[in-house]
Structure formats: C-alpha cells, structure tokens
Amino acid sequence: MLQLEHIGKQFANGVVALHDISLHLQAGEIVTLVGASGCGKSTLLRLVAGLEPPSTGRVALAGEPLTAPHPAVGVIFQEPRLMPWLTVRANVAFGLAQLPAAEQMARTDAVLARVGLSNFADALPRQLSGGMAQRVAIARALVTRPALLLLDEPFSALDPFTKASMHEHLLDIWADTRPTLLLVTHDVEEALVLSDRVVVLHGHPGRLSQTLTLDLPRPRRRTSPEFQAWKQRVLDALAVEVGA
C-alpha cells in the first residue's frame, strides 16, 4: 500500500538526513521505525505525510505518487500541536469539516470516549496536561479513519499505564478497521507490543540497517519468554548500530 523507493533527503542547509531508503508496507501492516536520535525517523515520516518532498527517489501510496498531504494519511506528531483557540472537541473535529455536523459530533464523541477525555470535550488546550493533550492529538488523527496512520513517538509523553492502555486502544482500532500503521518509537517494548515488523535505521545520513519480522502471536504478553527473546534481538540490532 505504501512504497518508498530509494528515498534520499537533503535539506536546504546541506544536511543529508536520509540515504537510499526503500521500504514497502502491506495494507493493514504495523511497522515500527527505531534508531538513534537524529538518524532521520521524523524526516522519513514527514516525507510520507507529504509535508516535504524527497530529494531523490519516490513515495507512492497505492501506486499513486505522493507529493502533497493525502486525505487517507493521518499524522500524529511528536508534540500534540493542538490549536490553542479551539476546544478539545473542535480540535478533534478539525479534519472533519466536510462531514455533516451530526456525524462530526457522533464521531468526535466516540473517539473522545475511547481516549478517556469525554469530560474534557469543552476544555481548552491550555487546561490539559501534556499527556491529555497528546491523547487529544491521537483522537484528532483517529477520528478521520485514515487508511495509513503515521505516528511519531506518539506515546512518549504518557505515563506507563496510560501508554499501555493507548497501545490497547490502538490495537483495538487496528483490529476494527485495519489501517496501516507506520510508527516511530524509542521504546523497544512498544515496538514489540505493536508491530509486525521492526525497521532499524542507523547512521548519519540515516540508512536501513535491518528489518526484523516478528512472528509473535497477538495479543502479546510482555512477560512471555518469546517476547523477552525478541526484545533482546531488537536491542542487539540497535547496539550493533551504536557500536558501528
């Protein structure tokens, strides 16, 4: 469903962030990008989001070249990025302007309930904690029911309990509508709980180092020996990259 062909990215200031990245995502697949800070993970997501053009190579969605933001692609940024002048409800409904008001309302209420913020529907962003704001941002992306959802460290601001429950919500939603998910994280367990494949990036500019296809059955239990074994393998893959 998503094809990255020999992607390279050089910024106007000369910094080369990515070098020759090729990656294919199947529809409904969950792929996690891991790698050291600054190796170009966010940049890769921005290219797929259509916020920036690649310098070389091409990005295609279902065979169509992707050159601008696409309605079927949702993004959850590293920060909440809520509109400070809109209530929580209006922020969540931000991408629904084309729908009838009643449908907007119904969808927004449902997704707010899902992220546990029904009581804050009329609050302003300044009245939210960091974790709550990030959950609103997650709701805003989910409510449009994207076919491809890009997530840039979406849960890093959440406490472990909220984080675990957000993982479950995300997997629930995924089980419902089977969106394709491309997720950046620094949290190896998060990668293992969620993904079908873990893609390791390394270096400056960032290159593909290895791809690990997880054969763990779902739902995954963090305490199972297989899970722990995979955790070690991913950590090894990251360590190779740090050592290199």
Binding site: G50, P69, P71, V73, R81
Partner: protein, 281 residues
C-alpha cells in the same frame, strides 16, 4: 514619533498597551492600592488651590475643572466638540486600520509582496508622521479630509506591523497540522492563520488607536473650530486653564473608554490564550 510603535504605548493617552499581569488574578480587595496616590494628589491639589497657594489663573482646582465640564454639558456646547473629535478618530481609525490590515496581510502572507512593499512602507514609517501636516493641508485643505488622513497615517503603521509580524510568527507546526488535514489557500488562512494572528492584531489595533488619539489632538490644534483640540487652543487663547484641563481630562476619558472597548473585544476573542499576562488593562 519616528519609532512610533515603540513609543506609542507610552505616549498614548489611553495608557500602556502591554498586558499587565496584575489585572485579573487580583481580587477586589487589592485594587484600591493603585488609587491611593492619585486620590491623595487630587485632594492635595484641591486643598492648595482653595487656600490660594496655587494661582487660579494657572492651575485651577480639580473641582473647578469638573464644573467647567458640567457647564459645557449643560449649555450643550460640549456635545458638538465631543462628536467631531470622536467622528474624526472613528473615521481615521477605520481608514488606517483597514489599510493596515489589508497591506499587513498581503506582506505577511506573501513573501513576494513583502519584498515588494515592505521596504517602501518601512521607509515611510521612519518619517515622523507630524511632518506630513503641512503637505496634507496643502493637498487636502484645512478641513476634515486632512485631519482624518493624518489620523489614519498614525493608525496605519502599528496595525500594519501588528498584522504582518503576527502572520509571520504563526507557528509552523500548527500550519503543518492544517496542511495534513488538506487545508490550503483561503481555508488555511481562515482556520489557522486568522485565529493565530489575532493576538498580535489586537496589540496593533490598540497601539494604533492610541496613536489615533494623539494625532487627533495634533490635527485639531493645527486648525479647527470644533473638537476637544479646539477647546485646548480656545482655553489657551482666552486664558482659561480650566477649559484646557477639562479638554485634557475628556481626552483621557475618551481614550481610555475606546481602548477598554477594544480590550474587552480582545478578551472575548482571545480567551483561549495561555500566556502569563493574558489580561488586557
């Protein structure tokens, strides 16, 4: 007046426009503190004037100033003066703020327009606005047009700068959110740029209004037979300081009232702001 926007808040009769953090959080028990000094000074002034320590032909008592205003109101003489001054400020403000908003939006949003127009406008801004007076009188005559235009010039620059810098400082990250949800062009302007620019816009409007009040005085002093500025000159010509002080007081009250109106509107529209001093004085 050359560096008009920097100096404007200090000179403006309406008082400083920078948000004062003390306003909202403080309960009613706190406010009289700020009133102590003015009241004490007024009382002292009144007493000294009554005792004849202050020469009445130079500094009449505060009560004398108030009775002068009451007298002007009773005879009906006051209302045309008020009306003309308010009308000039309203017209000049509307004209200057309208142009400032339009051009500021153009230069803020379109880099090409900024490169084309901004150098010229910044150049014009460096001319002390009162230096235009003789030219305006020559071109537009001594009557209303030149006055309104002068006020409009004063209002224009702070509003223009407020809009332009406001738009340029809109958070790129929020703009990206708009783009991700398919917004572009006018929809992006309406749903992201406009609300994000409002705080800077209101600062510009209030600075502009302050300059508008300053320039109406200049315009009315340079020749008018109606208006509060005329009362100033009239008081000077006829040696009645109470009339001058009455006019000054009315300018202060009007400036304050119109500024509060703008501030109120701003508070309504900007209640979402998350800043240290969200309050407007």
């Amino acid at each position: 007046m050359a560096a008009s926007t920097l100096v404007a808040p200090l000179l403006a009769p309406a008082g400083p426009t920078t948000a004062s953090p003390t306003q909202r959080p403080l309960g009613p028990r706190q406010w009289p503190l700020g009133a102590v000094l003015p009241v004490a000074l007024l009382a002292l002034w009144e007493v000294l004037a009554r005792l004849g320590v202050l020469p009445p032909n130079l500094l009449p008592a505060p009560s004398r100033v108030l009775t002068t205003i009451a007298e002007l109101a009773r005879t009906g003489e006051l209302w045309p003066h008020l009306g003309f001054t308010l009308g000039r400020v309203a017209l000049g403000f509307g004209l200057g703020a309208g142009l400032g908003t339009g051009l500021g939006a153009l230069t803020g949003y379109l880099p090409l327009m900024r490169r084309l127009l901004d150098p010229l406008l910044q150049g014009l801004r460096n001319i002390p606005s009162l230096a235009w007076v003789p030219l305006f009188i020559l071109w537009l005559g001594i009557y209303e047009t030149s006055k309104v235009v002068l006020i409009a010039v004063g209002v224009f620059f702070p509003v223009y700068l407020g809009v332009m810098t406001g738009i340029q400082q809109v958070d790129r990250k929020l703009v990206e959110v708009g783009r991700v949800y398919g917004l572009a062009g006018l929809a992006l302007v309406r749903r992201v740029f406009l609300p994000a620019t409002l705080p800077a816009y209101f600062v510009g409007l209030r600075n502009g209004l302050g300059l508008g009040w300053m320039f109406v005085v200049a315009a009315e002093i340079m020749g008018a037979n109606k208006g509060l500025g005329f009362l100033l000159i009239d008081g000077q010509m006829t040696g009645r300081p109470q009339t001058i002080l009455a006019s000054i007081l009315l300018f202060a009250v009007l400036g304050r009232c119109t500024d509060s109106l703008l501030a109120l509107l701003g508070r309504r529209l900007l209640h979402w702001q998350d800043t240290h001093g969200t309050s407007f004085s």
